[in-house]
């Protein structure tokens, strides 16, 4: 761990976060349901197979183009269930509110959560509220947990990923992170980038219809596509090879990334899906994704290759290649 105290890098979703989770929380709390450290835990009870997950939201500012903390708190947890191959059923929401926070604003956030829950077809079925002294929190923090019913058609697992499998992305990356960064208002860049926050249940259900040909799904949030694919490579014990030119990034997002010196591969998404499918099903999977409004920009970005050292490599348009490592440090704290 980076020293004896927690630093912002420990919360960035990259290498340091992973060490914190594996070296401290998993060590202390180890049990078979937690151990896989997936987006959601798989729980079997009375013959029913459930997915169960939780996530905390501390994004600053609370509202940004394309969304707010309420919508994010619903979609983020819904998506963790969806990419685990589950249909979300119910959420809980816990609020830590700073003394002095405007009630009107709180009501708007709650209404935004309600809209997002309706869109995702899920109920916020339980909740809790705590108020802390001024200065002890920054406005409001939201924690959501969710349960979902596993789609029995899907047989997902990183260990099922095989050399030759294709890697698909459902649309343009890096939009959420750039939207939040611009919304902080200290960059004086005028760009219309909106967060992509959206529920992915429609896309994941369409892919689950592929059955065992669908190997693995994730939503690349903190740490971006690069970090998610590094987890894929490490879990599968194989190398992920990307084709740089096929990675979808909107022009204005790419321009913002160039100006800021940030690689879009490391910027957070909140409404994008990464899926690994068997090579023979890649076309069918792309067609299924593109049939849905949220997947209209879906493309194949790379494939899985057998290799003794699991890495993520990008083939550049010039015939070279480079490693895409996990995120080190934090370009952008409190993104979700």
């Amino acid at each position: 761990m980076s020293g004896e105290v927690v630093t912002l890098a420990d919360g960035a979703g990259g290498k340091a976060s992973r060490r914190l989770v594996e070296g401290l929380f998993l060590e202390e709390l180890r049990n078979p349901m937690l151990e896989p450290l997936g987006d959601a835990a798989l729980v079997a009870a009375n013959g029913t197979r459930l997915a169960f997950t939780t996530d905390a939201y501390v994004v600053r500012p609370l509202r940004f183009p394309g969304g707010d903390i309420g919508e994010l708190a619903v979609n983020g947890t819904v998506n963790d269930l969806a990419v685990s191959g589950a249909v979300p059923i119910a959420l809980s929401a816990g609020f830590v509110i700073e003394e002095g926070f405007a009630l009107d604003e709180l009501r708007e956030l709650a209404a935004s959560m309600a809209r997002a829950a309706r869109d995702a077809g899920v109920s916020v079925a339980a909740g809790d509220t705590k108020v802390v002294e001024r200065g002890a929190a920054d406005g409001v923090y939201v924690t959501t947990a969710g349960i979902g019913l596993l789609d029995l058609r899907a047989v997902l697992g990183v260990e099922r990923v095989r050399p030759g499998d294709r890697v698909l992305v459902s649309g343009g990356i890096a939009e959420h992170g750039i939207a939040v960064m611009l919304a902080r208002g200290n960059l004086e860049l005028e760009l219309d980038v909106e967060s992509d926050t959206a529920p992915l249940g429609g896309l994941t259900a369409a892919l689950c219809a592929l059955g065992p040909e669908l190997r693995w799904m994730r939503d690349p949030t903190r740490g971006g596509l690069a970090t998610t694919l590094n987890e894929l490579a490490a879990g599968a014990g194989a190398t992920v090879v990307l084709d740089e030119e096929s990675i979808p990034v909107r022009d204005d997002v790419r321009a913002a990334c160039e100006l800021l010196g940030i690689d879009p591969l490391y910027v957070a998404n909140e409404g994008k899906l990464v899926a690994v499918v068997a090579p023979d099903s890649a076309d069918a999977a792309l067609a299924a994704l593109r049939a849905h409004p949220l997947g209209a920009g879906a493309v194949a970005v790379g494939e899985i290759r057998a290799d003794e050292e699991p890495l993520v490599l990008v083939d550049t348009p010039f015939g070279g290649s480079r490693i895409v490592d996990m995120l080190v440090g934090d370009p952008l704290p409190r993104i979700c």
Binding site: S2, T7, F318, G329
Partner: protein, 373 residues
Amino acid sequence: MRYVDEFRDADAVHAIAAELRALVEPGRHVKLMEVCGGHTHAIYRHGLEALLPEEVELVHGPGCPVCVIPMGRVDDGISIAERPEVTFASFGDMLRVPGGRRRSLLEAKARGADVRTVYSPLDALGIARREPEREVVFFGVGFETTAPATALTLQRARDLGVRNFSVFCNHVLIGPALRAILDSPETQIDGFVGPGHVSTVIGTRPYDFVCHEYGRPVVVAGFEPTDILQAVALLLRQLREGRAEVENAYGRVVRDEGNPRALAALDEVFAVRDDFEWRGLGAIPHSGLRVADAYADWDAEQRFAVPGARIEDPKACRCGDVLRGLAKPVDCGVFGTACTPERPLGTCMVSSEGACAAYYAYGRHLARDKMPV
């Protein structure tokens, strides 16, 4: 995206690569140094080394501003930042740089120091004006590229009469660093890819000494794949023709005379130090800037007692050799083991523009058999 895509066009890149193969002389090994860390980063990010003929070797120079700050200066910065009255403003990439005992500003922040990330020194001045009860100190880091912004900020602080603002000045100069590398007896660099951003400020004339006194060509280049390869082609052509001149291949941005207003601001606000210590390279005469006497009220080193500790570079680290072109990152015994981007031991691993960090992040798969396990 205009101004980017045309310089990353694969056909154009391959055309220059073919030109390079025609320009090399069989059996003549050529060592070229790209001075700027931005070039190093671009070379690895785009995989450009794979396009070079095997006779051409690129050596990664000292032009990574974050990397060259010695650990003692980082500790001095931390000691200022830890004062209860101080708000310490820094560019984000300095926060993770470890000082002595491997402590960084990020850790000082986690332990309670008021350290804030800014994108410009003017943002730091803005904090000072909004929070007059705080002593705001800006961590001035960088070559002639970033120094003018610091200078303008100090001019503005004086004009506005902002008394709770100061600069901890660590700005450095590229010319003396190049001279130190050329004077190093083991060094054999045949030519230089000159820095792009620095040259927008200083122009191309400050490199004349490299040609006249040391007989080496310099080609100032931009940061896109075609820019860098074109500069290599121009250098090879000069070497082939026995010329040693300064050429400007970044004319869309760089003027030969530089930016006179920026240079005037540097002149007014800063003075050249007798010497300044560089990580990996040691003390180099006349290579650093301090706040000039006329601005002493805004000089953090005058305002606060700074320990001024000197901390030697770790013995196991070969950054000095890497920076002078005597070793590749993988030749270093701690590369990728005791020294990684998360826990850097030496200067070249510190920022993404450092040679070792760029190599580790993008290129370590190319030399896997050479990697220490």
